[in-house]
């Protein structure tokens, strides 16, 4: 960890000094315990603030859509898949992006920390190689990092960057386990149970749209839920309306979502957004043999077709 951080700072510094990029987007330590935050660096000196660790949660390619200059970006496996999507969908230009790829063994799921804290205040958090130490008033707990890894990371098959200009550190072993076991288990429940579950989730949603705003694949200048001529999407907090928002969003990101987990992480209501997204991902894979963010050439599956696409569902 320490070494890759050193390497990262050197690479970033060199890029700025040699004027290969105008801006570096990466992570720095935040002000709250255990939190990192995005940093935007234009001066070579500042690259010493860059960090790379278990807590680098954000999918930074979100910012690429706004950048006008040449950008060097610190990107994990899933982030790079987002970048590939954005290049393919002509939202950013490959030549304007310098990808500093970092192999990643999984990122923290902060919600698991919240569960451990049970409302107690965290005053200090220390990360070591294999553990996180939580400290607060009357609180000192050591937790294995393994137990804190985000669900998306556990079974991730793209921990090593599939596209990069330079690679920091060494390649890591891929995630293990069946990627769709949750989806399959859920699918085996009855219609009524599944409906009740989604209704429950939807009834907690406060429609802050943070999930959409943070998603690298959601860049529409006007999202469907914001259309007002006419306002044809229900804008109430009724679970029917919120569930429709989530279902339509899932359809829009089908074949484009890279399971970076940014949407679930950012949700203030802890809504299980991953279930729908993963289901769409699985279907696209089964039907059109496509995985998002792996190749620059293949067309996004929902923007194309084949004459002999499966149609057993057509009467």
């Amino acid at each position: 960890m320490q070494e890759s951080e050193k390497e990262l700072r050197e690479v970033a510094k060199k890029l700025l000094l040699e004027k290969k990029v105008d801006l570096i987007i990466g992570y720095e330590e935040g002000t709250l315990p255990l939190r990192t935050r995005p940093i935007f660096i234009r001066e070579a000196d500042e690259t010493k603030k860059l960090v790379w660790n278990f807590r680098c949660e954000n999918n930074l390619c979100f910012y690429l859509k706004m950048a006008k200059e040449r950008v060097g970006i610190v990107a994990k496996g899933c982030d790079i898949r987002s970048i590939i999507g954005l290049i393919k969908e002509r939202q950013i230009k490959r030549e304007n992006i310098f990808i500093i790829g970092v192999p990643c063994s999984g990122i923290i799921d902060r919600k698991k920390i919240e569960d451990i804290l049970e409302g107690r205040e965290l005053l200090e958090g220390i990360e070591s190689d294999s553990q996180i130490i939580l400290k607060g008033e009357g609180l000192e707990e050591k937790v294995d990092k393994d137990k804190l890894v985000h669900a998306s990371c556990k079974s991730c098959k793209y921990r090593n960057p599939v596209l990069y200009d330079t690679l920091i550190g060494k390649e890591v072993s891929q995630g293990e386990g069946e990627e769709y076991s949750d989806v399959e288990e859920f699918a085996s429940k009855s219609d009524n149970e599944r409906w009740a579950y989604f209704n429950d989730e939807a009834s907690r949603c406060i429609r802050c749209y943070a999930c959409r705003n943070v998603c690298p694949a959601c860049y529409c200048p006007q999202c469907f839920v914001d259309q007002s001529l006419p306002t044809w999407f229900g804008r109430t907090l009724h679970p029917s309306d919120t569930l429709i928002f989530h279902i339509i969003r899932t359809l829009h990101i089908a074949g484009r979502c890279v399971d970076c987990g940014a949407c679930s992480r950012v949700c203030p209501m802890n809504i299980e957004l991953r279930m729908l997204n993963k289901k769409a991902e699985k279907d696209v894979k089964e039907l059109y043999h496509y995985e998002a963010g792996i190749s620059l050439e293949e067309l996004p599956p929902m923007a194309t077709f084949k004459m002999d696409d499966p149609q057993e569902f057509i009467k």
């Binding site: 409906w195 009740a196 089908a254």
Partner: protein
Amino acid sequence: MEGNRIVSKEKSEWKPRIIAFLCNWCSYAGADLAGIGRLQYPPNVRIIRVPCSGRINPYFIIKSLQHGVDGVLVSGCHPGDCHYISGNLVARRRFAILKRILEFAGVEKGRVQFTWISAAEGERFSQVIKEVTQEIKALGPNKRFVKEA
């Protein structure tokens, strides 16, 4: 009509209300042919004509359910016959994913159905409507997405 909901007058026997989105160039013409041929089919279907099956936004289908219809049928030209060449082929992918996601979320199988009917298939049109109506009748009234008062 009662607000946005269509309410059937006879309370005695429940009759499903079904919306059919038919593309102008094949399926709608197929329905027309069924009419010209005086073929009988159940009167539970309200037809909405769209330029092409590719015009059908998945939301049309979900919104229909939300407004209380009991079933949705979508029909376009057979693959290769679309007036706009590939509208139905792109739509086919969209429908495939939509159908799977809806069913995953708990919408009963058969509530939303898809088919291809050509302008020459008046007979088939009436047959499909019969089948779909029967299947939706068997499912009972739609409760998914409907906002209960």
